[in-house]
Amino acid sequence: MNYEEIIKKHQLKPKYFANGLKSFVCGGMVAIVGQLLLELYIKLGIGEDEAGSLMITTVILVASLLTAFGVYDKLGQFAKAGLAVPVTGFANSMTASALEYKKEGMLLGIANNLFKLAGAVIVYGVVSAYILGIIRYLFMGG
């Protein structure tokens, strides 16, 4: 029996517009917060490069704390890619994994699982940067 046709008829169509709008606006707001922090740090006399690092670190801290308070998952469900794509998503994936495996202890639980979700991002980043770096160094003069 051909189930595929009937299943296709009833499958939920994603709410492209609503999801897209939420992601766009929430992602934009995260950027605004980041920019405010960046300018604040520069005003406090921190050098430009360091201010950038500190801003990212601050955003990571906020995302991790929101995860700790049990609030981030609800925000993420609403904001969709708006929170998953910025570094907030990265921070949450690590903190959530760490929190989840707490009961299995510091080593086998927390430490062992910290990179469970974030590992792929780092691996893909390093592998692609390495290949591209070598190509650029050898063929484009560095």
């Binding site: 029996m1 189930y3 009833h10 499958q11 939920l12 994603p14 998503g89 959530a96």
Partner: protein
């Protein structure tokens, strides 16, 4: 006794009593008054998610033993399962009782599978009293099948929400007002659905197959039953099931419902397409449906518990999700 292709007809198999325990979301849902124990917190007075689920199961079994006034030696076996790897929760919950255990698993169809095994043992006079248990917990399911519970990645609207709950009942050869009169054992059906966030689509074909086979094997039409109750097809799977059966000239549009749609109020509670889990069908059946049968609001119910036999590793290997549905027919006498 085997009847037809895949079904069994039982003689003298009854449900004496039941006990159910649920978590916070279910305690606030539309069926809240039909559960025996309502835990206000996901940790259920325990230290970890797994221990919380163990607590749910033990609370029910303790309560059931008290209600039925039977001793350890008078209960022949426990048959049950849960969603955790190796049926861990059931194994650990039962270790404090001196009763032999048969652990079973068919994902969210576990409750029906356990009932079928238990009923067969009682029907064949190999046992007099058997405890059936089936449980699930939202957090243990999330961390095992999907992501850490505090993870912020959004789930789509077609996803289902694992019920935190345990349902137990005592199946016996002693006459009572609720009879288990027949059952149909499902065949694994792979409808080639690969989306782990849409179990309803994966399971509806299996449910339709089991319902069709059951009605054929027992020579009944869909109207024989006041209620054909699927386990957790959710709002996505329900219309698919109705359509598939309509194409085969079986109309269940007016007497179908789904445990996953009954246990939550989807408008007020954030549960996506509905509830799911091994505890979903058991808590709803042994809590709500049994009350409805006792109060004569329902007389003949066909429980069709549906299981998506999903394994994360196979999903990563780009396999599809096979499903199974087991049916148990309950009658008020």
């Amino acid at each position: 006794m085997k009847i037809g292709n895949n079904s069994l007809k039982f003689n003298g198999v009854y449900i004496k009593d039941s006990s159910t325990a649920v978590g916070p979301l279910e305690s606030a849902g539309p069926l809240k008054d039909y559960f025996d124990y309502r835990f206000p917190d996901l940790y259920c007075n325990a230290d970890s998610w797994e221990k919380a689920e163990i607590n749910l199961v033990k609370t029910c079994i303790d309560d059931l033993i008290k209600k039925t006034n039977l001793s350890d030696t008078e209960i022949d076996f426990i048959v049950g399962g849960d969603l955790n790897n190796q049926d861990a929760v059931t194994n650990y919950a039962v270790r404090d009782y001196n009763i032999p255990l048969l652990g079973v698993y068919s994902a969210c169809a576990t409750s029906a599978e356990a009932m079928i095994v238990a009923s067969s043992l009682v029907d064949s006079a190999n046992a007099k009293n058997i405890i059936v248990t089936s449980s699930s917990h939202n957090a243990t399911a999330e961390r095992q099948y999907r992501n850490p519970t505090e993870y912020g990645g959004a789930r789509p609207d077609s996803a289902t929400f694992t019920v935190t709950g345990a349902g137990t009942c005592l199946i016996t050869n002693q006459k009572s007002d609720i009879k288990i009169e027949s059952a149909t054992i499902g065949r694994v059906l792979d409808a080639k659905q690969k989306d782990a966030n849409d179990m309803g689509s994966a399971m509806a074909p299996a449910a339709s197959q089991t319902i069709k086979v059951h009605l054929e094997d027992l020579g009944r039409s869909a109207e024989y039953y006041d209620l054909i109750l699927t386990g957790d097809l959710s709002s996505v799977g329900k219309p698919i099931l109705i359509d598939i059966l309509k194409e085969q000239e079986i109309d269940i549009e007016h007497n179908h419902n789904d445990c996953g749609l009954l246990i939550y109020d989807r408008k007020k509670q954030n549960v996506f397409a509905g509830g799911s889990g091994a505890g979903c069908s058991s808590a709803v059946t042994f809590g709500y449906i049994m009350s409805m049968l006792r109060e004569n609001k329902l007389k003949k119910v066909l429980l069709v518990a549906t299981g998506a036999l999903m394994n994360p590793i196979m999903i990563f290997q780009k396999e599809s999700i096979p499903a199974i549905a087991h049916a148990v027919s309950l009658e008020k006498i």
